[in-house]
């Protein structure tokens, strides 16, 4: 059994390597106070003073009379200093060990703390950089120093499972987890919140929802309340009905979106000013509905494109076709603030097949198109950005400079495009799987990408061969409009092996051999094919996709 260290008094600091001092059996209490004030001096010679009453020293201002003890981190964190010699069970206090020894029929003796000899002990934090490492700022309690050391200098091993707060001290963690989540707010609609702010936000709009007989999609996104950095923009105007009828253009929206690239409403505001395109009159409206307008109690940012989605409803400009607004709305939905949406409007403007080619998506909730369409249109829009009307370029350029967010396609859109870009002749390539399985992917939507591929089998196969063998070859075909130099280097460096397009084994990354042949040969037939589709069939989203991809391949000739 470890013997308790004797409490000899001597000047200075006693280092305790092996085991620490003994913990008095009663809970730590203020020692018999000394009359001396807490001065910055190390432990001095003890002297007895009659303690009139107990006084607790300020933490970090130890009683100068006290014995200063510095422990190593290991000793400090040692939980079981007293070991039973019989069963090796560890105990934190000697008293507990003594009681345990009774069970082994060993001689035991409970020591009493002699009040006359009681020694006020103060402890130092072993962390040298800590304030409490200095004897003049020692802490008076062993448990206290342990917790302090854990909290400040230890790793937080305890984590609340409801929220994400971490704690280094188990008691802190327990205390917190008792409280965490117990304050719950419930809305009338049954939704539960742990945060007051999100609850308030939701409830205000939930009532509005209820009043509007649940017809409107203007619900607050409580999850999204912290989106976009929680900027203090409140665009939610739930009573501004829904996007259901998308006959309204949202070029304004597009402008706004196009010009920011981020979720910054201010950016959008500026953008709309900068580009008073066709719906100039609507921008004031939008801005009027702008930040913190009449929604002072909802300072959090609702999803910015919430408000923007509702915007088309506010404007009844009949100029633009329904498709553009639909596209815009869809883009809003799908792509947040990405500027590519500008491209869709442009496409609509310049498109050949009336509103069809431009008709990408309706708003999510109401349309039947998948995420890919706008992606294709976006993509095509990118291509056309350099040679389409100024609006597009003006829209596009600022977005390019908006450094924080790059125009993005959703992963789904990327996959669909990749599938479209190639099929493989040798059934081994995954891309053929992509193509073939996009049929299943489109699900019951009716439109199938593979349909469009029928007329382009050769083209696809050639491309996909190169793709199957290498990577990124098709980029050359697509991205010239965007960043030509970058692409070139990419292609160059991705390529390895020769131009032997017919040699399926070479890594024809560029797909140059195959691509060229097929592009040259395939384009006319594709164009016809797609034009045929465009003009003859209804606005099915997959056809839109094919339409756009045709455009992309054809270098925007359809424009």
């Amino acid at each position: 059994m470890k013997a308790a260290s004797s409490s000899t008094h001597f000047f200075g600091i006693r280092e305790d390597g092996q085991h620490s001092h003994q913990q008095p059996q009663q809970p730590p209490q203020p020692p018999p106070p000394q009359e001396l004030p807490a001065t910055a001096s190390s432990a001095n010679t003890p002297h007895s003073a009659a303690p009139p009453k107990k006084r607790r020293n300020l933490p970090g201002n130890p009683n100068p009379d006290a014995e200063v003890i510095a422990l190593s981190p290991k000793t400090l964190m040692a939980t079981n200093r007293f070991i039973c010699e019989v069963c090796n069970k560890g105990f934190q206090r000697e008293q507990n060990l003594q009681l345990h020894r009774r069970g082994h029929n060993l001689p035991w003796k409970l020591k009493q703390k002699n009040p006359n000899e009681v020694r006020r002990r103060v402890y130092l934090c072993p962390e040298p950089t800590c304030v409490h490492h200095d004897p003049s700022r020692a802490l008076g309690d062993l448990t206290g120093i342990k917790k302090h050391f854990c909290r400040k200098h230890g790793e937080k091993k305890w984590k609340c499972d409801k929220c994400s707060k971490r704690y280094a001290v188990q008691s802190d963690w327990k205390a917190h987890s008792k409280i965490c989540g117990t304050r719950e707010y419930r809305c009338d609609c049954g939704t539960l919140f742990s945060r007051r702010d999100s609850f308030i936000t939701h409830r205000a709009f939930c009532d509005a929802l209820a009043q509007e007989s649940a017809r409107l999609p203007g619900g607050i996104n409580t999850i999204g309340s912290h989106l976009y950095g929680g900027r203090g923009m409140n665009l939610g105007l739930p009573q501004l009905s829904s996007l259901q009828d998308q006959a309204q253009p949202s070029a304004d929206l597009l402008q706004l979106r196009g010009s920011s690239g981020t979720g910054q409403f201010d950016h959008l505001n500026a953008a709309s000013f900068r580009q008073p395109h066709q719906l100039a009159h609507s921008s004031p409206f939008f801005l009027g509905g702008g930040p913190n307008q009449g929604f002072g109690e909802h300072p959090q940012l609702l999803k910015p494109f919430h408000g923007m989605m509702q915007l088309p409803d506010l404007q009844t400009n009949a100029n633009a076709s329904s498709s553009s607004s639909a596209a815009a709305a869809a883009n809003l939905f799908n792509l947040g603030f990405f500027s590519n949406t500008g491209s869709s409007s442009t496409m609509n403007n310049g498109s050949d097949a009336g509103g069809q080619s431009g008709h990408l998506l309706g708003p999510d909730q109401f349309s039947n198109a998948g995420g890919g369409t706008e992606a294709m249109s976006l993509f095509a829009g990118d291509l056309m950005s350099n040679h389409t009307d100024t609006t597009m370029s003006s829209l596009y350029n600022p977005s390019v400079h908006a450094e924080s967010v790059v125009p993005q396609m959703s992963a789904t859109a990327l996959l669909q495009k990749a599938a479209q870009m190639g099929a493989t002749s040798s059934g081994g390539s995954g891309s053929s799987m992509l193509r073939g399985l996009t049929a299943s992917f489109s699900g019951g939507g009716g439109g199938e990408i593979s349909r469009t591929g029928v007329g382009n089998e050769n083209h696809f196969q050639d491309i996909m061969n190169s793709l199957a063998n290498g990577n990124g070859g098709v980029f050359g075909g697509f991205n010239q409009g965007l960043d030509g130099m970058g692409e070139n280097k990419l292609h160059r460096n991705l390529s390895m092996g020769g131009f032997g397009g017919s040699d399926r084994l070479t890594r024809d990354f560029l797909g140059v051999g195959g691509m060229m042949r097929s592009m040259v040969g395939g384009i006319p037939q594709r164009e016809q094919h797609h034009l045929g589709i465009d003009t003859t069939s209804s606005m099915d989203h997959s056809e839109m996709k094919s339409g756009s991809s045709t455009r992309s391949f054809g270098g925007g000739r359809l424009q």
Partner: protein, 463 residues
């Protein structure tokens, strides 16, 4: 070649750049050089990067599937690593998880490596629970499923005085508390509700029991929770203690697909697994089962085959004569025979899932990272890197599940329009944009944009 290339590839005249130099000149003879020092890697726009990643992934899958040396797969994975990131955009995240899955797949022939890696990453129960909680919070699917399930149960149990619900995975009291609420506000007063919760771990059941009992007390619903610690694949139906004549509802949320796991390596020979006792099949049923098995299996073998685990499980459920069985499953075909099939399907499926998260949850959200890694990442890993009995994420589409249920004797119970309304209202009230609920042949599809991701269907016994 070059002029053609320039003419074809450069599409817009306004572009200042054009391919003027011959790619041939710069072709290196060494392996492709997406080196870390390539400036264009950084210049890549996200969609280009995304496309690049897709092709890299497919390529890597090809290499991994073709077996042999690991070097080609390694090269592909290296390139993917340059572009993928678990905290980037949706495609980057998907790519990073798929890359990990492919890497694990690639080393399958080194079981020692596999085991060493797997033991280091086994998800402790608490973490899995946390991941599931995040899934509940960040994606609407579970909540939608609960809403629809509860509505279907409510409708089926109209007029009943005693309702017994069997939950095949009772890990979340959030599923049943709304049911308790609904029952307590029933016009004829609440029935006596018994919930039998099945789960592998008793701590989870304990937690669920406490929460539900508290809620029932508050709502003044006579309630009883019966925990049943068991795995689904060796569930003893007798332990469910369903009394005859009891109005029974069974809820299965994403549970049935793991029962499809078999040792497919052997092909047609299925090892006799421990199956729950099943009711005797009539000849008609056996023939039906046979027919279906032959229709679906790709290996041509003799008609007589012991019933598979799923068949016997469904049959035993049917034997309990439930009033309603509500099944929620992933709407995807991740049970294809070949790796590439599954990979491509999974790419599309998880692309939609990750897109949904990308557009509704901020990028830096820790919860999103966790659910992507610990829930979806694990599913992806299972789909891609595991085989045989290990591969539990055998998602199948609703039409296949319908066939299985019909074969087991169940009849489709179309879900009510009111359930659809409630589901949509839930979406609205949470503000989950982009997600939709669609009705299809009496079942509901929970979609992201237009891609169905989960299906909910209700079945009842023919009797």
């Amino acid at each position: 070649m070059m002029p053609l290339l320039a003419g074809v590839v450069v599409q817009d005249d306004g572009s200042s750049s054009s391919v003027t130099s011959s790619p041939l000149e710069t072709l290196s003879l060494s392996p492709p050089s997406l080196s870390p020092h390539s400036p264009w890697v950084r210049e890549l726009k996200s969609d280009e990067r995304g496309l690049c990643l897709i092709h890299l992934l497919l390529d890597c899958a090809n290499r991994v599937a073709s077996g042999g040396s690991l070097d080609p797969a390694n090269a592909a994975l290296e390139q993917i690593a340059l572009l993928a990131a678990p905290d980037g955009d949706a495609m980057q995240r998907i790519a990073s998880h798929f890359a990990e899955a492919l890497a694990r797949r690639a080393i399958r022939s080194w079981p020692g490596l596999c085991h060493a890696l797997d033991s280091a990453r086994v998800l402790p129960l608490a973490e899995a629970a946390v991941a599931r909680r995040h899934f509940l919070d960040l994606c609407p699917f579970l909540r939608l499923s609960f809403v629809v399930t509860n509505q279907a149960i409510m409708e089926a149990m109209e007029g009943e005085r005693v309702v017994h619900v069997v939950d095949l995975n009772a890990s979340d009291p959030a599923q049943w508390i709304p049911l308790l609420q609904a029952l307590s506000s029933r016009s004829e007063g609440p029935p006596h509700l018994k919930i039998t919760g099945i789960h592998e771990h008793k701590e989870v059941l304990h937690y669920t029991a406490i929460r539900l009992s508290e809620a029932a007390e508050r709502l003044d619903v006579p309630f009883q929770f019966i925990p049943l610690v068991s795995r689904l694949d060796n569930l003893d139906i007798e332990r469910l203690r369903v009394k005859t004549g009891e109005a029974l509802a069974i809820s299965s949320v994403l549970q049935l697909h793991s029962l499809l796991a078999t040792e497919d390596v052997g092909g047609h020979l299925r090892k006799a697994q421990r199956i729950a006792p099943i009711s005797k099949l009539t000849l008609g049923e056996f023939l039906e089962k046979d027919h279906l098995a032959n229709t679906h299996s790709t290996s041509a073998e003799s008609a007589a085959r012991p019933p598979t685990r799923i068949q016997s499980f469904l049959a035993s459920l049917w034997g309990l004569s439930p009033k309603i069985v509500v099944v929620t499953e992933q709407e995807a075909n991740h049970n294809g025979k070949t790796l590439k099939e599954r990979l491509v399907e999974a790419l599309f499926y998880y692309a939609a899932v990750f897109d949904g998260l990308d557009l509704t949850v901020p990028r830096q959200s820790v919860e999103r990272l966790r659910v992507e890694k610990m829930l979806f990442g694990e599913e992806i890993r299972n789909i891609i890197a595991c085989e045989g009995l290990e591969r539990k994420e055998r998602h199948e589409k609703l039409e296949r599940w319908s066939q299985r249920m019909s074969m087991a004797g169940f009849r489709l119970l179309p879900l009510s329009y009111y359930g659809l309304l409630q589901a949509r209202r839930l979406l609205q009230s949470f503000g989950w944009q982009g997600y939709k609920v669609k009705e299809e042949n009496g079942c509901f599809m929970m979609c992201w944009q237009d891609r169905p991701l989960f299906s909910v269907s209700a079945w009842s016994c023919n009797q």
